[in-house]
Symmetry: C2
Subunit: 213 residues, 2 copies
DNA sequence: CTTTATATGTGAGAGCCTCTCACTTTGACA
DNA sequence: TGTCAAAGTGAGAGGCTCTCACATATAAAG
C-alpha cells in the first residue's frame, strides 16, 4: 500500500477500499442513502444496500447512526437545508416586495420535489418515523418564515401580521399539494398538462389579492 | 364442533379459529391490513402481523394476494371508494350550483385524510408500488370528475370547459396539500391553529372568482 | 353415498433485512 | 514507544416476504 492511496477521498464509493479505516464513512453513507432513496424510493431503501455501495460491513453504520431511520432523517435534514438554500438564492434576482419573489419561492418548492422526489417524500411523507425531530421542525419554521416575510413585504410591511400568516399558509398548502400531485404522477394520469410557472403565478395572484367578500 | 359454530362470520378476528377453512379470509385480511396500516403506518405494516391478527399461517395470504403490495393496494382502493362515496353524499344537502357544494367536497377530502391518515397516504404517497393500477387511476378520475362537474355547475354550465378543469385542479392541489400538512402535523408544529371550514371556504371563493388581471 | 378435484390453509425453509456483540485494527497522543 | 478510544468486522439472533410440497374440507361427478 503506497503512501499515495492511503487516506483522503481516494475511495470512490466502489466496494473496494484499500485502507484500514474509512476516510469519512458517515458522510459517505448519507450520500449512499440519498442516492438509494432517490432511485428505489424511501421505502425499499435498505441499510445493507447502502453498506454494499459504501463497501463496508453491515455492522459499520451502527457506529455512526443509532438507527436506519436516523440515516434517513439525516438525508431529510440535508434536503431541507438544500431547499432552504435554493429558496434564498431564488429571491435575489427579484426586487423586494414583488409578486415575482413569491412565485419564485413556490417554483423552488415544486422544482425541488420534482428533481428529488425521494428526498422530498422523506422530508414530509413518512411522518411517524422522524416525527418529533427538532432540527427538522426548525428548518420547516425557517422555510415557512421566509414565505411569511415575503408575503408581508409584498404588503409593504416588515412585520408579519395574521393576514400574512394566513396567506403564507394558503400558498404553502397549495404548492405542497401541487408538488405531491406532480411527483405521484396524478396529473399525467388525469391527462392534464400543466404549465407550472403559469399555475404558480395565478395562484400567487389569487392568494395575494384582497380577501373575498 | 357443533353445527352452529361451523362456518359463517363466527370467527371474530381473534387468533382462535375452530373451523377447518376460514370463513372469508380474503376480506378479513384486508380488514386487518387496513387496521394495521392505520395504527402502525403504511410502512411498518407487515403481512406476518396481519396473519397473526387473522389467526392464520404466514403462507395463507398468498392464496388470495400475489403480493404484500397487492394487499395494500386493495386497502387503497377501498379507501378511494369510501372517499368517493362520502363526497357524493356530501353534495346532497346543498343546492346545485352553489359554492357550498364545492366547499363540501373539499371538506370531505381533508376530513377523510384526517380520520384515516394511513389509508390516505396509501392512496397517494407510496407511488412506486401500486403505480400503474388502472382501478386506482379510474377512481381518481371519478373523484376529479366530480369536482370538475361541480365547478362547471357553479358557472351555470353542465359542460366542463378548460376553465373548469383549471379551477378544479387548483382546488384539488390545495386540499391535497392541506390534507398532507394536516396529517403530518406540520401545522401544529408551526403553532398554527387553522379553522378548516373557514380556510376551505376562503380558498373556494378565491379560486372561483374571476381570473386575476 | 362414495370418489375425486379444487380451493384453501399449513410447516418448513430460503433468502433478505435490521441490529447486537465480542473481537480486531489503527491512528492519536501522552 | 505504549496505550486507548474510535471505527470496522464476522457471526448470529430474530423478523420479514414469499415459495413449495403437503394436508384438508367442500363441491361436483359418478
Amino acid at each position: 500500500m503506497s503512501d499515495a492511496e492511503k487516506n483522503s477521498e481516494m475511495d470512490d464509493g466502489a466496494p473496494k477500499r484499500s485502507t484500514y479505516h474509512h476516510g469519512d464513512l458517515r458522510a459517505q453513507l448519507i450520500e449512499a442513502t440519498r442516492h438509494l432513496v432517490e432511485d428505489k424510493g424511501p421505502d425499499h431503501f435498505s441499510v445493507s444496500e447502502a453498506c454494499r455501495v459504501a463497501g463496508v460491513s453491515t455492522a459499520a453504520p451502527y457506529k455512526h447512526f443509532k438507527d436506519k431511520s436516523e440515516m434517513l432523517r439525516e438525508v431529510a435534514l440535508g434536503g431541507m437545508q438544500r431547499q432552504y438554500q435554493q429558496m434564498t438564492e431564488a429571491l435575489a434576482p427579484h426586487p423586494p416586495g414583488t409578486l415575482d419573489r413569491i412565485v419564485a419561492l413556490g417554483r423552488v418548492y415544486t422544482q425541488f420535489a420534482v428533481t428529488e422526489p425521494g428526498v422530498f417524500r422523506l422530508m414530509f411523507g413518512l411522518s411517524k418515523d422522524h416525527d418529533g425531530d427538532e432540527c427538522l421542525i426548525d428548518m420547516g419554521r425557517n422555510v415557512f418564515g421566509m414565505v411569511q416575510q415575503q408575503v408581508a413585504q409584498f404588503r409593504g410591511s416588515d412585520v408579519i401580521e395574521p393576514l400574512d400568516e394566513r396567506r403564507a399558509f394558503l400558498l404553502w398548502s397549495f404548492v405542497h399539494g401541487l408538488s405531491f400531485l406532480q411527483i405521484d404522477g396524478k396529473l399525467s394520469k388525469m391527462d392534464m398538462a400543466v404549465d407550472m410557472d403559469d399555475v404558480l403565478r395565478e395562484v400567487s395572484e389569487r392568494v395575494m389579492r384582497d380577501a373575498p367578500a
